[in-house]
């Protein structure tokens, strides 16, 4: 079977700092990583390939340096990597991104065969929108399975997929036809350590680089800023609250006295709370 996994290279958000005066992101020196949510999709894809045979193609859209993330995916065992990179993609919102990625997936299908499954992570850590996966599914008319916790069965003879999907109030078991798009839930598997042969292969492997034209995109007005219906008008730092916390003086108090004092202060500020706790709290 052929599986396409969409990845995104993201700044390691734990290390992002904001310039205190200009309110701009200080990008220098911030390391980039594969979006952590995407690794669950990649590992799931590799497991399916190991079971059913076939190939895993990883795809990303990004600047030339996003090649690093693709090469990393090759060391984990992906068979092929495609980097979609072009200045026309700059400033893409979720709609323009799903257009570019779905165009590339069409081209991948023509070149290496139609994928039975397209995987994405459930969301990225820098955008947090969770909208690009559904966008790709819609554009390619793939059956959409989001927040998948477990793949129960892939039947290549019948061309069906049965999955357990995390829904708001429980777990839905869904059965659909291939091809489908799956967004994988976090914590559903553990990324393998790449093998030595894979690492050696990845170091030598060619990452396929496609421009918009290479991906078969003729209408550039659907790309980048032009193709993005959303407009970011303002970026700003949150305003601090006018008053800082009222600090409670602990000088000379024992721990038990601190507990008593804090409880008294809480009840003083929230007078209704004590009566409510009487009703609801365990209180033993």
């Amino acid at each position: 079977m052929h599986i396409v996994v969409c990845l995104k290279q993201v700044p390691d958000s734990a290390q992002i700092r904001v310039h205190p005066v200009t309110n701009t992101i200080m990008r220098q020196g911030v390391p980039t990583i594969i979006n952590p949510y995407d690794l669950f999709a990649l590992e799931q894809a590799l497991q399916l390939r190991d079971t059913h045979g076939g190939e895993v193609t990883v795809l990303t859209m990004g600047p030339p340096m996003a090649e690093d993330s693709l090469r990393k995916a090759l060391t984990f065992g992906a068979d092929r990597a495609v980097l979609l990179t072009d200045r026309f993609f700059a400033g893409s919102d979720t709609l323009a991104t799903s257009f570019a990625l779905s165009s590339a997936i069409k081209k991948i299908s023509e070149t290496w065969g139609t994928p039975e499954i397209v995987f994405t992570g459930k969301q990225t850590i820098d955008g947090d929108t969770a909208q690009v996966g559904p966008g790709i599914a819609r554009r390619l008319d793939l059956n959409q399975l989001t927040y998948v916790a477990r793949i129960a069965e892939i039947d290549l003879t019948e061309q069906t997929a049965t999955v357990e999907r995390r829904s708001e109030g429980g777990v839905q078991t869904l059965k659909t036809n291939l091809p489908c798009l799956i967004t994988m839930l976090e914590g559903t598997n553990t990324m393998r350590r790449g093998s030595m042969p894979d690492a050696l292969r990845a170091a030598r492997a060619e990452v396929v680089k496609w421009t918009a034209a290479d991906a078969g995109i003729t209408d550039l007005t659907k790309c980048g800023l032009k193709g993005s219906p959303t407009v970011v008008k303002r970026v700003f730092a949150p305003t601090p609250r006018s008053e800082r916390a009222q600090l409670i003086d602990l000088a000379g108090l024992s721990n038990d006295e601190i507990g008593e004092k804090l409880m008294a202060e809480i009840f003083a500020r929230q007078p209704g709370l004590e009566a409510e706790l009487e009703k609801t709290a365990a209180g033993y």
Binding site: K8, A14, I16, V18, I25, R87, F89, A90, G91, D93, L95, A100, T124, I125, D126, D128, T129, A130, G135, A137, R138, Q144, T146, E168, G169, G170, V171, Q172, T173, L174, K175, T176, E186, G187, P229, T230, V231, V232, K233, V235, F236, R241, R244, A245, Q246, L247, I248, L250, G259, L262, M263, E265, R269, Q270, E274, L277, E278, A281, G283, Y284
Partner: protein, 367 residues
């Protein structure tokens, strides 16, 4: 290059095309504010009422109607949901009933929703950023080729009548305000508990518009084989708890997290944590509070050993009373907490637990 709405650099003022509203004749016909009423397995997710409260404000500012869209199986539940939508502020309820809509499935829901939008042309469309709402919103926006701002934390109507949706960006270090200037409808999702629950008024009534969907079950490829409900409902979960106690890496070890759980238990509340605690593996991800976790609005929030990064702050700002315990008097959490203690949470939490336990059991015996 960036590939998300949220990581775009804002265009220079007045410089670039597309920064000014230029609506086509077709889109000028789009009016009214819609809220998707998330009815699943007979129950409406409370985020839908929170959105009706917010939608009411937007509709009043624009001088238009507020409508709730309820999609589901024919029966009592969908009628009750429509009546409740009026109680929470809707003027109109669109009811789409069909057996094929009994369980949420992306394909039929996307089809009936996009048809509804094309027919009745709302200018603003709001959905809860739940697993269902996010699944549906992305499909609807892509089908309609319009803009969608995910996980908004503030919604406003600006001077020219455009929807200004503000959301955290860069992992919650900054906020950005996003517009869909030239396409309709303007779509946004909002997470549960970000907006306050509006007052319910059961004497309010509205107009019901029944829409018969053109669906045949045999045309729908995806089938629901089974559904295993969670033990706890949305209302009883962390997001909707009245009292929340949470811990951060200031607690220093996974073992010390027991102090957080003990206090939460005595108070009859829920426990939560900050993102670094999840990353360390001390506590499962469903307990995470903040931009990438749950948003909470409890009456009392006690944050122990949490520094208070913006990503955490946006998830707790709706709390009535925030009490912070941290050894660092310069921790950002003291900038938005109401009450603060500079000290060791691993000592203060057990002391506070003892105090509450003693007080509550004494009062209980006396009554």
């Amino acid at each position: 290059m960036s590939n998300d709405a949220t990581v775009k650099t804002p265009a220079p003022q007045g410089g670039r095309a597309g920064m000014k509203k230029e609506l086509s004749e077709e889109f000028k016909a789009y009016k009214h504010v819609w809220v998707f009423v998330e009815l699943e397995r007979g129950e409406v997710h409370p985020v839908s009422w929170e959105l009706l409260g917010e939608g009411r404000k937007l509709a009043d500012k624009l001088g238009v109607e507020l409508a709730g869209v309820v999609i589901g199986a024919p029966g009592e539940a969908i009628k009750v949901a429509a009546a409740e939508a009026f109680a929470y502020g809707a003027d109109v309820a669109y009811l789409v009933q069909h057996e094929a809509l009994a369980d949420y499935r992306n394909d039929p829901y996307t089809r009936v929703f996009t048809e509804l939008v094309k027919t009745y042309k709302p200018e603003i469309l709001l959905l809860g950023a739940t697993t269902l709402g996010r699944d549906l919103a992305g499909s609807v926006a892509t089908t309609l080729l319009t803009g969608l701002t995910a996980d908004s934390t503030e919604l406003a109507v600006d001077a020219d009548g455009s929807l200004a949706a503000t959301r955290p960006t860069f992992g919650g270090s900054l906020l950005c305000t996003i517009y869909t200037l030239n396409y309709r409808p303007q779509m946004a999702t909002v997470r549960p508990r970000v907006m306050a629950m509006p007052e319910r008024r059961d004497d309010r009534i509205g107009r019901v518009v029944e829409v018969a969907p053109n669906l045949v079950e045999n045309d729908i490829v995806t089938k629901v084989l089974s559904f295993l409900p969670d033990r706890e409902s949305a209302k009883s979960s962390l997001a909707y708890a009245d009292i929340v106690v949470a811990g951060g890496i200031g607690l220093q070890s996974a073992d010390n997290f027991q102090h957080v759980k003990a206090l939460a238990e005595v108070l009859g509340g829920e426990y939560g944590c900050s993102r670094p605690v999840v990353q360390k593996g001390w506590v499962p991800v469903d307990r995470q509070i903040g931009q990438t976790g749950k948003t909470i609005r409890p009456k009392l929030y006690i944050a122990a050993g949490i520094s208070g990064a913006i990503q955490h702050r946006v998830g707790v700002e709706g709390a009535d009373l925030i009490v912070a315990i941290n050894t660092d008097k310069n921790a950002p959490i003291f900038d938005f907490a109401h009450m603060g203690l500079v000290g060791d949470a691993t000592l203060i939490l057990p002391a506070l637990t003892r105090a509450f336990r003693a007080r509550l059991s004494v009062n209980r015996l006396a009554s």
